[in-house]
Point group: C2
């Protein structure tokens, strides 16, 4: 098995990018990644595209050749990978596997989603396709409702509080305020977060990630580089909430994390920095537990203590996370890699943390039916 | 690189399967494949799903975990691959690559699509997403219109006739009449085909594949078996018709074929049997040329001569092809493998050809922006 490195990363700003289509967004992110790699694009042998549902959002399907064409890479195998909100992570997982196995030396991964310009109801309907259409979506269980059930259960089971959920939002908004590419750059207080417009009790608007447009790209290579992919694992779990044994933990994340730690030969305690999938604030708390950073039920108090803040012992979502950086679905998992690479290379500007050598990303699909966990290490 | 074999195949009938959803169809095909393999499903390490647009057809996205769950395979990495009408072929391509590289020993590939129960206009709109939404779909260039342009150009350039197009339909309907799992089992005459209801001049209803439901599954393995995958290649080309240098040939098919022949160490003349992507009759003619079976412009006369008939020198689409067997998009590329394996193993019943050892499948996406070419060889 070959060692896998990242040759370059690039992304667009995340947000409401009116008048800019899939081709243009993907093109911008890929040009940035190719530019950062400083290598000839003709070395790229395949294009792996992460996208959740461009057909429903824009009418455009068949994104493989479209995205490859946008980077002047017509001809190479170009495929779209869909795994709900983990589509970007899944594209990356398969690209890393392919390079590790020696199938390709260079693969360009591009995640993209164009979500704005729809009614909120239509967006909720499209997103509901990531759950079980028969037993959830048709009965009105949209994702805010599903994660509200999960949050309520976590509160009941462990005494997690509304204030602890709000603490995630406050932290991630604070971080995003220093990220020029973030969707929501407004600093908020605990009081503001708690007083947010109710979405699905106990979640308010401030517990939910926004609807964003954006793209991100990562050049994965077998050549040596400054950042190594030491592990990347994908796992699945039950699609419907009703089919899970427990709803306060995601088996898919636990499985993917177990494999990733094994692949890297690491323990959770060795992770120094993380970008995790906070589509809702409760999801960040559960991620802390599922990734083994903290015992089940203790994430709320841990986040409240400041441990995951930008100056904490384990900074989490220094980019602002999905919550405030934005969540253009297919781009999210690829964007997490971009953000982590920036921090590891000391290029995160105002939000740069003290030198860290090992970081992790976690990208979740649906209510935890897919999860991708990646571990990166700085090599120099 | 490891040798890759097929442990078992299975499919549902293709057709209007009212009241049967994605989960049930995929489940039936996978159970059949697992049963045919006669092995323990717990050996399966990943599920690769080919699906074009379940979200638009049914509201259900995130098919990886849904399909894995339907086969009792919760936990394994489970991902949906989308490459328009080549989605099934693309899932297979990536699975074969993964097994060849030693990433997995056993992968289950399942293609599925549930298309019926929509208005014809809505189906045309969803399918149009496989082309360029901006320059084609929004201007009304649906797929029958696009392939009509291609057919007209082929007629102009090479003198191909309406009768030659009809000969493809007559042959494939004849073959499907002997396939109990085919959608359209009606034998038709040249006169009937020519007198079909016009769809997009010069194409009549008999030049177009039907709208079908169905699923197909293939267990890909590194264990020895009766049928070996000696080559599998995917390539891309321009998405929009207007961006192609020539519209009577698909660069993606030529590229994929070149790589596949190279991988197999074979020449086109060594192929003894083929299942090709006849979404429209003209597509079968072009496939003959792009795959190197016959010179450009000579496919019409060749088909008319009976060479590709079930008793011809190179039987093509003995299953009935997309044209008459049906075209449940995501299932198509996987179903072609099932059909070819059946013939190679001498299990094709009434439509069984004399013993053949080497066969090829070709699965096309959009107006040729993706193409997957696979070569199978009987080993015993």
């Amino acid at each position: 098995m070959k060692r896998v490195h990242i040759a370059g990363v690039g992304k667009t700003a995340f947000g409401v990018l009116s008048g800019r289509g899939l081709r243009e967004l993907a093109g911008e992110a890929m040009e940035a990644a190719i530019g950062a790699a400083g290598r000839d694009r003709r070395e790229i042998e395949a294009v792996y595209v992460g996208n959740f549902d461009a057909p429903s959002f824009t009418g455009q399907n068949h994104l493989g050749p479209l995205v490859a064409g946008a980077a002047g890479l017509e001809g190479v195998p170009a495929t779209r990978f869909e795994a709900a909100c983990a589509s970007g992570g899944s594209a990356l997982f398969h690209a890393v596997q392919a390079v590790r196995a020696g199938l390709y030396r260079n693969v360009l991964v591009c995640g993209v989603e164009k979500m704005t310009g729809q009614t909120t109801a239509r967006v909720a309907e499209i997103l509901a396709g990531a759950g079980d259409a028969d037993s959830e979506a048709r009965l009105g269980a949209t994702f805010p409702a599903i994660f509200a059930l999960i949050a309520r259960r976590h509160m009941h089971q462990y005494g997690t509080t509304r204030e602890q959920l709000a603490a995630v939002a406050v932290k991630n908004h604070w971080n995003a305020s220093m990220n020029p590419q973030a969707h929501l750059r407004k600093v908020i207080s605990i009081e503001q977060a708690l007083a947010g417009k109710p979405v699905a009790d106990p979640l308010t608007l401030y517990d939910c990630s926004p609807v964003s447009d954006g793209a991100a790209a990562v050049w994965v290579t077998s050549e040596p580089g400054e950042v190594e992919v030491v592990a990347c694992a994908q796992a699945s779990g039950a699609l419907a909430l009703a089919d899970k044994r427990e709803i306060t933990t995601f088996e898919a994340t636990r499985r993917a994390a177990r494999r990733a730690y094994e692949e890297a030969g690491m323990e959770p305690g060795e992770i120094q920095l993380a970008e995790v999938h906070d589509c809702f604030t409760i999801a960040e708390l559960i991620a802390m537990e599922d990734l083994g950073f903290i015992e089940a039920g203790e994430s709320g108090a841990w986040v409240e203590s400041g441990a995951t803040g930008i100056d904490g012992s384990l900074p989490v979502n220094t980019s602002g996370g999905l919550k405030a950086k934005g969540h253009p679905i297919g781009a999210t998992g690829v964007g997490q890699i971009c953000d982590l690479v920036q921090q590891l290379r000391g290029q995160a500007g105002e939000r740069q943390v003290a030198r860290r050598d090992v970081g992790l990303t976690q990208n979740l699909g649906g209510s935890g039916a897919t999860s991708v966990v990646t571990i990166l290490r700085r090599t120099v």
